[in-house]
């Protein structure tokens, strides 16, 4: 683990053409890191995320993405992701390839990736049209009961980026509250960047906390309010007004482009 500045960390770990997973299930979304990726002008990324949320709406609108791997692309509690829709419906700023799963499928793809397995098994997708369009889905038969289940291909991103509440000086990272799929994202990825609210001398044990030991983390960058406008439990609340504001900003290409200029 190396303690770096955010710009330095993104420059070192995220390359054009990479498969990048930014995770955080409505909580601890690594938005500051996403903005740095936009500022550094990364291109042709395959963006992976269970819930693209406004963070990927911004990256897609900014032209970072060639492909999106996801399960649910909305502005939670507000409505559509207009930049995502514009890319899929009209190819703006350029066409966006899509690989679409369910939440359960995405979660199991990360689990398989973190476990060093080529696939995961679940009860899911059967009877849906996703089966016709998603190549990373297949049927698999139970060797004991003969029952047919669904296999999903493992996810092993080039880089995982997550935000956490804190790290200690040795680079052990601690996050708590709703911890989503972040542990799996980091463990499934070849490299990882973790932005944190603060670095502390030592990590006091915390109920419900996930700890990622420093030796499975590539880089840590201190980034206070790095999850804004989402929230960091124990630090700040969700800025719901911005989520609503985003709806207006993202509806038109011109207002979005203006916003992009301020980043």
């Amino acid at each position: 683990m190396e303690l770096v500045g955010l710009a330095e960390g993104i420059a070192a770990l995220v390359r054009d053409g990479d498969t990048v997973a930014l995770e955080g299930f409505t909580h601890l979304i690594p938005v500051a890191a996403a903005h740095e990726i936009i500022r550094q002008g990364r291109r042709d990324l395959t963006l992976v995320r269970m819930t693209p949320d406004i963070v990927y709406d911004q990256m897609i609108g900014a032209g970072c993405a060639r492909k999106l791997v996801f399960a649910w692309g909305g502005n939670p509690g507000v409505g559509s992701l207009h930049r995502l829709r514009d890319a899929v419906e009209h190819g703006w700023p350029h066409p966006l390839e899509i690989e679409e799963h369910s939440h359960a499928g995405m979660a199991n793809r990360y689990v398989a990736g973190a476990s060093g397995l080529p696939f995961g098994v679940l009860r899911g997708y059967r009877g849906t049209d996703l089966v016709k369009h998603t190549a990373t889905l297949a049927a698999v038969r139970c060797p004991f009961t003969g029952e047919e289940l669904t296999a999903v291909a493992a996810l092993n991103p080039d880089v995982a980026v997550i935000h956490a509440q804190r790290a200690d000086r040795r680079g052990n990272v601690q996050l708590w509250g709703i911890t989503g799929v972040q542990k799996e994202a980091v463990l499934s990825a070849r490299r990882s960047l973790i932005t944190v609210e603060e670095v502390v001398e030592s990590l006091a044990p915390q109920p419900g906390a996930v700890v990622l030991p420093s030796w499975v983390v590539s880089m840590v960058a201190v980034c206070p309010r790095g999850a804004w406008p989402s929230y960091a439990q124990g630090y700040y609340d969700r800025d719901n007004a911005f989520y609503r504001e985003w709806d207006a900003i993202s509806r038109s290409r011109s207002r979005f482009t203006e916003w992009l200029g301020t980043l």
Binding site: F25, W72, P76, V88, E89, A104, R126, G177, Y231, R238
Partner: protein, 241 residues
């Protein structure tokens, strides 16, 4: 509609909740007639008891009030998939007479659709695994359609026996609550039929709002919201402003 949905949770033990109407209905039920109802959010909050309506399924209030908070893989694998959750609430942009749902694309080609919707999220597995599913959808000819453009989540598929054939272990949609009334599946054909209308709604209004020739079952009228229901609903909704 919300009140009708909350009432549908009477006597239920656990409910898998998404954000929006389902969350409001489930929290309303918990405060009124189902205080023991266990709310399970797909963000991993099990037994959440929020004091206000959460802003999103990952709201911090959910984690802080929950009996247990688990990872997202765990909530799907250990809690939803084995059929531990009694009721799942779902909504959709389109549904057909068998309660199959579309939340993916409308019109055009899948890769270049006219309208790109959010997608599947947790819905396909909620529809498959909850012991029963309740749908909450505003009723009009654009949502209640002859053929949905994309099957995101399976209701009764193409009819009787299809769920069993696909290995879907929950019973499927047992009730569709709309802004006009309530539809329930025919026990034999699995086709949704109108069984309840809200006060002031005519059967013909409902038929006109439905894109297929709607069957009508034995009809009752929804009891109007009680003052207690309305008061708690207002209080809940006030809390998020």
């Amino acid at each position: 509609m919300v009140v009708a949905a909350a009432r549908a949770l009477t006597g239920r033990t656990s409910c898998f909740v998404g954000i929006g109407l389902p969350s409001t209905a489930a929290n309303l039920a918990r405060r009124l007639h189902a205080p023991e109802l266990v709310l399970v959010y797909e963000s991993g909050a099990i037994g959440a008891k929020p004091s206000r309506l959460p802003l999103s399924i990952g709201d911090g209030e959910l984690a802080e009030t929950a009996d247990a908070v688990v990872s997202v893989p765990e909530v799907f694998n250990y809690w939803l998939q084995p059929g531990r959750i009694e009721v799942g609430f779902l909504s959709a942009a389109q549904l057909d007479r068998y309660g199959n749902l579309n939340t993916t694309v409308i019109g055009g080609d899948y890769r270049r659709p006219e309208v790109r919707l959010p997608g599947a999220g947790g819905a396909p597995e909620i529809a498959a695994a909850c012991r029963e599913v309740i749908l909450i959808v505003r009723q009009n000819p654009r949502t209640f359609v002859q053929t949905i453009d994309f099957v995101t989540s399976v209701g009764y598929g193409s009819g009787p026996g299809e769920r069993q054939r696909l290995g879907l272990r929950g019973r499927g949609p047992v009730r569709v609550i709309t802004d006009l009334g309530v539809l329930e599946p025919d026990p034999v054909t699995c086709e949704l039929a109108l069984t309840q209308v809200h006060p002031g709604v005519e059967v013909d209004d409902v038929k006109k709002a439905t894109g297929w020739p709607l069957s009508v079952g034995e009809l009752t009228e929804t009891a109007p919201p009680t003052p207690a229901e309305l008061a708690v609903l207002r209080e809940l909704e006030g809390g998020t402003r």
